[in-house]
Symmetry: C2
């Protein structure tokens, strides 16, 4: 009854998934590879990339060498270095995905596949197309998460109507569904919480609004395929990563993993906005990071701003010792939560 006993265990395979993120041109990007969609063998996608005709995007996936790799994280760094030529900096374990049939070949007798997913952040400059791996916009996959230009069209147009119908669909669970829709999507005047990315994706999955839902036999029929599809459960993993990063940015100085050594404050702000998916108040952002001790001026000037030249700043490491939770404080730190009125029905 313990792993220490069951030496003659059934087939389980442990894999590693990497969500490698960068921000370029004010867009968050994720490193993807292509997986052939040939059935019944669905997967196969190696990091070297596409094979046959129909392909599907997916996350780089690698093995654990049980005999060689000292730790899971080192295993990840090893094969990302070997196959994508990227030396990862910031790496953090995300979540372990182990649902049955997450690899469709399990249905036809394949082994159970457990995947330990990691989040890695790389700098703009590291972005160099390599082999068959390709950078893609995170919001291509999760378009309802980008509020920088206002309420995402797909939210009002496609998601909200279906959710409202779903609310009324079940008499008994009506209250639970109302609460869930409110909390995750801010329906009915509840606040939109940028961090609940995973919960939103899962609700869309359940209500048949993402293509992945139709691949799962038992699930409701597909109403609409919102956002770009991914192989396996990789979009779920991506959603987990974005949600985690949005949360972390508030209380840990992780943004600095994504910008160059020195940067203007607007560059930094745009990077945060890209991840958070919302626009920030410029003067307050400056006050937060400058007076808050997160950055320090270098005295150097970046002249090509399109307007008045800006000072270049750098991350101030000492803040780690000075403050408990140094982060950039997204809107909503006020307890009362903003009113997202897009759904006031």
């Amino acid at each position: 009854m313990t792993p220490e006993e069951s030496t003659s265990a059934p087939a389980v395979i442990v894999g590693l998934n990497a969500v490698i993120l960068a921000v370029t041109d004010e867009h968050p990007r994720v490193l993807t590879v292509s997986f052939p969609t040939g059935s019944p063998i669905e997967g196969g996608g190696r990091i070297e990339g596409a094979g046959g005709s129909a392909v599907r995007d997916g996350l780089p996936t690698g093995p654990l060498d049980p005999a060689g790799d000292r730790t899971l994280e080192l295993a990840l760094r090893r094969w990302v270095r070997a196959y994508a030529g990227i030396e990862l900096g910031y790496v953090e374990q995300l979540y372990t995905f182990g649902d049955r049939f997450r690899d469709p070949r399990e249905r036809s007798g394949g082994p159970r596949v457990i995947s330990v997913a990691y989040l890695a952040l790389v700098r703009e400059s590291t972005i160099a197309g390599h082999l068959k791996a390709r950078w893609r916009g995170v919001y291509e996959y999760l378009p309802w998460e980008d509020w920088r230009e206002g309420v995402p069209g797909v939210l009002e147009g496609a998601i909200a109507p279906v959710l409202r119908q779903w609310l009324r669909g079940d008499r008994e669970e009506a209250e639970d569904r109302r609460e869930r829709a409110g909390v995750t999507f801010g329906l009915d005047g509840a606040p939109w919480n940028g961090e609940r990315v995973l919960e939103r994706y899962e609700l869309l999955f359940e209500t048949g609004l993402v293509a992945e839902a139709s691949r799962d036999a038992g699930n409701a029929t597909l109403r609409r395929a919102i956002g770009r599809e991914m192989a396996f459960d990789h979009r779920r993993i991506l959603a987990t990563a974005l949600g985690r990063l949005r949360g972390k940015i508030r209380y840990r100085p992780v943004v600095f993993e994504l910008v160059p050594e020195t940067f203007t404050l607007l560059q930094l702000q745009r990077t945060v906005e890209a991840l958070a998916g919302v626009r920030l108040h410029k003067q307050n952002f400056r006050r937060l990071v400058d007076a808050g001790g997160l950055v320090e001026g270098t005295g150097l000037i970046e002249p090509r701003t399109g307007g008045r030249p800006a000072e270049l700043f750098r991350f101030r490491r000492e803040v780690l010792r000075e403050r408990q939770a140094p982060g950039v404080g997204l809107p909503g730190a006020f307890r009362k939560g903003v009113d997202s009125s897009y759904t006031q029905s």
Copy 2:
């Protein structure tokens, strides 16, 4: 190079670990089982408990049934129900531990053991000794984490001196070490951050201040065994759990998983204090949860308080829809961090 390919994989075993926490008598408790320490086969501890002579505490550990269990979490719930008779309520995945040799039998050819650890919270009332499982105080294992009665003696007495020596031990890394000691233990006037439980445990491990350090061949000699030892890397898992819970309590109403349906505000406060390891300001705590909409009065009175009778409150679910991050806000929410002057050398 992907899990999808390596069907003929080497031996990897996936286990599940449960950190089951409750708070009784104002002390956080963890459910433990006994593992025999017989070498060279170190482990073996089943949930039914102790075997031979020398035993070591550990966390309940169970298997994943690759063919039967639909999800990892359901697998966990299943065997905790089956072997400990506890029906888990709140469950959350913690972290996946996969370092080589975390099961010492790997050194003698045993399979690589990957453990997915979960955090579960149960109510006071659920605590009923069952089989050989036993509740133990969390701070027996991590005594430096409890600041409710002031600075823990072991910090000033045993830890700080060794850390100061460690600081000076290496010329080249001096600055890194200073930063690390400051951030994790609040040395030299840096603030103490209650959430960095894991980082503290790992620093103690590296400096040879916990018994587990001496079990690892390559590590420094044991200077002192602070806190109660655990089997395998279970104390590291426990530290992960406490740190995660302390963080979560700030922005999610998880405390309510640990108290009865109705409770007095002091009961609630003591529960939070037990987890956070610090004392809170009573009037402000009341304001936070009451005016903050986290709780609502029931009108009922609890007469046996030892003083004036208190009103019984209940969790107010609606807060989930109203606020973005409903939590109890531990001290240090102020950005400037408190000054922990215990180490002003």
